[in-house]
Point group: C2
Chain length 148, copies 2
């Protein structure tokens, strides 16, 4: 279940995704929070920085800098995490993940749950619609981002 | 089995690890190569750039920029990859991984092999000795890097 802080950060992750779209990038955003406190926001930087590892989740974790622990944090992402980002969530021991969109990409939710991560599908309609339109209009860039 | 190019890049990854050590960072380096051509070298940047996602492998992949495909590449790393880096290798569809040191860290080799990655343990003695000494002398930094 999502709480009030979750609902705020789901919208903040979506705003990050829109920011990336406005800059010509992939519209995928993320937020790392400790309770009601935002530690960092980030978004996909493949186009903007020619950086293939800067998925939304990774850019967000980079911007959060060196944290002593992630065990009291929640990661919010507009799109279900790929295997890179899922491996990172497990390695960083992030216990809770809120996903806006599991329709346009997914498949690693079971891997995450098997490693003890609480995975919440927020089914955020605006995120789902934006990603669906992006993929339809930018198939090459989308396939590059997921290395297909 | 390793070939002549492998043996060159095993040493190059070790040189990257030493470069990081000389800069006060974690002594872990990586090389991405396409056959006999180096695409990028990298090393851990946690200390140097306060970047928790910049493990050696990740820094190397970042520096290689946007590649059309990784299916004809080999990744060399001085230390067996953590779950973040292992997930990345799988997501990027890197088919071949050469590891200098599986003694001081490991455990994800089976995950990689299950996902079709050829994993070669080069058992590079100088890498093993350097990492062993680093962990003994820098337990806090090492534990931070693997989020323990």
């Amino acid at each position: 279940m999502t709480n009030e802080a979750d609902r705020k950060f789901i919208e903040l992750a979506f705003a990050e995704a829109k920011k990336s779209a406005d800059a010509g990038g992939l519209p995928i955003g993320a937020v790392l929070a400790r309770g009601e406190t935002v530690l960092a926001c980030g978004h996909n930087q493949r186009v903007q920085q020619s950086d293939p590892i800067a998925h939304g989740e990774m850019d967000c974790l980079r911007k959060a800098g060196r944290q002593t622990t992630y065990r009291d944090t929640t990661l919010y992402t507009t799109l279900s995490p790929c295997m890179m980002c899922s491996g990172t969530i497990v390695q960083f021991k992030i216990p809770r993940l809120v996903i806006n969109d599991t329709q346009n990409f997914g498949g690693n939710e079971d891997f995450l749950r098997e490693h003890g991560v609480e995975v919440i599908d927020a089914a955020h309609d605006a995120s789902i619609q934006m990603m669906r339109a992006f993929i339809a209009n930018n198939a090459d860039l989308w396939n590059e981002d997921i290395m297909e």
